[in-house]
């Protein structure tokens, strides 16, 4: 049953990541757009247990970050006052899941100190909050695009496998065309073709539709294969002989066979599509400031001084890696489970 525990662990990990992103307003201590012009490029705040005098404290605390008087973008900790980290503090107002207004945050410190777990960017915005909010955009884009791809793939694959003939031929030739298309350049071309300034919602939908439609070919081919195998089963002929319609046979006898493929494809496609969104936003073709997305957070690294001086600006990439790892891990755990089950 080790494999079962592995699945549970992998799914739990992935779920907690998604939960944190979904409840970004609650988990993040600050508004993602709130600027602290006094603290551009502040390094991540150190969470401490031992104070300057060497005393151990049960409750973690931080020291306030202050600008060094003689430097630019250089900071030090003011060791005079400890600011303990509290749970469930009242802070700036936000809307939970974009619906319920609330002021309670998971953690925080008392003003005037501020806690920047992942440092700040050039406007002094808290990166940790921005990564969480940015995840909402990036992951949602990945999930929706995956949904689009799989839905298209399922439709085309089913029709093509079930009805065959010229429908099948033309759909599969089209699929081959889409498979050889270099999707990244296609994305760039499509995005570049459209007006540069459109509303963030429109951009988001455009991203989802473009990424999602380009990727239908692979799932469609896989599903077509499954359908081809399933439609010639004896019980399909039998159920036809009892008066079943095409639709009934597809729904009851063919579709259940595709669930496995759909699941694994989803686990593989989501990280791929998240990365696609990140890539586009990185090039400035996706969502633009002040809306955070992992892509435009990373876009800061295009500036040389940021790239070499402020390592915490790489942290959005870590979030990307974690989510990708989470998905592949789930796919892997399921795979192992199926392998052990079949022997």
């Amino acid at each position: 049953m080790a494999s079962k525990r592995k699945i549970v662990a992998a799914v739990m990990f992935l779920l907690s990541l998604h939960l944190a992103i979904l409840l970004a307003g609650f988990v993040a201590p600050y508004d993602p757009a709130a600027q602290n012009r006094d603290f551009p490029f502040a390094p991540p705040t150190r969470v401490r247990f031992v104070d300057a005098a060497g005393h151990l404290h049960a409750r973690p605390f931080i020291y306030q970050c202050v600008a060094r008087p003689d430097g630019i973008y250089e900071y030090e900790e003011s060791r005079e006052l400890r600011y303990p980290v509290h749970l469930f503090v009242v802070g700036p107002e936000y809307k939970l899941v974009g619906l319920w207004p609330s002021r309670v945050h998971l953690f925080g410190v008392e003003a005037p100190a501020q806690i920047f777990l992942a440092g700040t960017d050039n406007y002094g915005r808290d990166q940790f909050s921005r990564i969480l909010y940015g995840g909402q955009i990036s992951v949602a884009a990945g999930l929706l695009a995956t949904g689009t791809s799989l839905l298209l793939g399922l439709l085309i694959g089913c029709v093509s496998g079930f009805y065959g003939k010229w429908l099948d031929e033309s759909a599969m030739r089209l699929a081959e065309l889409f498979l050889v298309l270099p999707w990244l350049y296609l994305l760039l071309a499509v995005r570049a073709f459209l007006p540069l300034h459109i509303s963030p919602t429109q951009t988001f939908l455009l991203l989802v539709v473009v990424i999602g439609t380009i990727g239908w070919a692979r799932p469609a081919r896989l599903i077509r294969g499954i359908v081809l195998g399933a439609k010639n089963r004896k019980y399909v002929t039998a159920s036809r002989s009892f008066g079943a319609s095409d639709y009934y046979i597809l729904r009851r006898h063919v579709l259940p066979h595709t669930y496995g493929i759909l699941l694994t494809q989803a686990a593989l496609l989501v990280p791929q599509y998240v990365i696609a969104e990140v890539t586009l936003s990185f090039f400035g073709l996706g969502l633009s400031e002040p809306m955070p997305s992992w892509g435009n957070l990373l876009a800061n690294l295009q500036q040389y001084n940021v790239l070499v001086s402020y390592w915490w600006m790489f942290l959005p990439a870590l979030a990307l890696v974690l989510v990708s790892f989470g998905y592949l891990n789930v796919a892997n755990a399921f795979h192992e489970r199926l392998q052990s089950g079949s022997t």
Binding site: R233, K234, Y235, T237, A238, S239, R240, S241, F242, G243, A244, S245, Y248, R252, H253, P256
Partner: protein
């Protein structure tokens, strides 16, 4: 021309009253993309009266299964079908798909060869029967369940509850078989086709299934087409028997008469192949079963003459050049041979 001369007597031959199924000059040809092959069924004509059991006998490749699929309209798309199949005075070959769906399962249904494969492995057995009833008759879930249970009891299954909730892999071969029969009978069809349906069963279960089929046939008055390659199963079971060879009917008639006095040389050969328990009455002098020499001819559209001619023991020069039409040597019997009875 053989067909025309025999249409007339045939009308008087068929059992009294209207026939349930009237097949006339049915020809089915499978064609691949660039090649037209020989017909799998050639000008097949026969009748079934309501409530009759018709046994169709033939070796594999003789067109038995194609015939069954043609009656249900389930032939693959690369088949061309000619002729007429009149079922209750309606030509099945002229019907559209939605009318087909109303007939399949409700008026004509089929019992398949291997019930283990013809039942979906991921649906409960009871649901698979209920779905058939749902497709053909309005009603709610509760009454349907009761109906299903009645059908299951009707095929002599005890523990109806357990079987209703079981998945196919949880049932024994005999139980699966009865479930397959229950499926076919769920909507009380007028015609049931059993395609080699006892092949995979052992002898005792086979006998039970045959008894069950006969009993249901008698009780409900539904006609049965029983397709088999084993002549021994038909004796005492089928009312009439029809022998097929290479896509054509070589002989048909009442079972008792055909079995006691076969007319066609192929039928004779087949019947001699039944091993008998009494000290080898049908063995040759070397103590072996008298095999029919040769095998089914490769189907070839241009072939002339009788298709059985190469294997026939009573062939004449005439047989090579002209294919024999059906003749009616006595009331109720028909045979396609120039030299029958020799």
């Amino acid at each position: 021309m053989g067909l025309f001369t025999n249409m007339m007597p045939f009308a008087t031959v068929s059992l009294e009253g209207a026939a349930l199924l009237r097949v006339r000059a049915l020809t089915v040809t499978y064609s691949t993309r660039n090649r037209q092959s020989a017909p799998a069924l050639r000008r097949v004509s026969f009748d079934i009266a309501p409530g009759e059991i018709l046994g169709i006998l033939g070796e594999s490749g003789s067109g038995k299964s194609t015939l069954a699929l043609a009656i249900l309209g389930l032939l693959p798309a690369n088949c061309s079908v000619e002729g007429t199949i009149l079922f209750q005075d309606e030509d099945l070959l002229q019907m559209d798909e939605s009318r087909w769906r109303e007939i399949r399962g409700a008026k004509i249904s089929m019992i398949f060869q291997e019930p283990g494969l013809s039942l979906s492995p991921v649906m409960r057995v009871g649901d698979q029967i209920a779905e058939i009833i749902r497709a053909h008759r309005p009603g709610n879930g509760k009454t349907r369940k009761l109906e299903c249970e009645a059908v299951l009891r009707g095929v002599r299954l005890s523990e109806v509850d357990r079987i209703y909730r079981a998945y196919p892999h949880q049932l024994s071969g005999g139980e699966l078989h009865r479930v397959a029969i229950a499926q076919a009978l769920a909507c009380r069809p007028d015609l049931v086709i059993a395609d080699e349906s006892t092949r995979s069963l052992d002898v005792t279960v086979q006998a039970e299934v045959l008894n069950l089929l006969r009993e249901i046939n008698r009780k409900r008055g539904s006609a049965l087409i029983f397709i088999t390659h084993n002549p021994a199963l038909l004796a005492g079971f089928a009312d009439r028997v029809m022998v097929m060879y290479a896509g054509g009917i070589v002989e048909q008639g009442p079972t008792a008469q055909v079995f006691s006095r076969p007319l066609h040389p192929y039928t004779k050969g087949l019947l001699q192949l039944i091993p008998r328990s009494r000290n080898g009455t049908n063995l040759t002098s070397e103590g072996r079963l008298p095999v029919i020499p040769g095998s089914l001819p490769a189907l070839n559209p241009s072939s002339r003459g009788c298709l059985f001619e190469p294997r026939c023991s009573v062939r004449t020069a005439h047989c090579q050049n002209e294919s024999p039409g059906e003749v009616t040597p006595e009331r109720g019997r028909r045979v396609s041979c120039f030299n029958y009875g020799n």
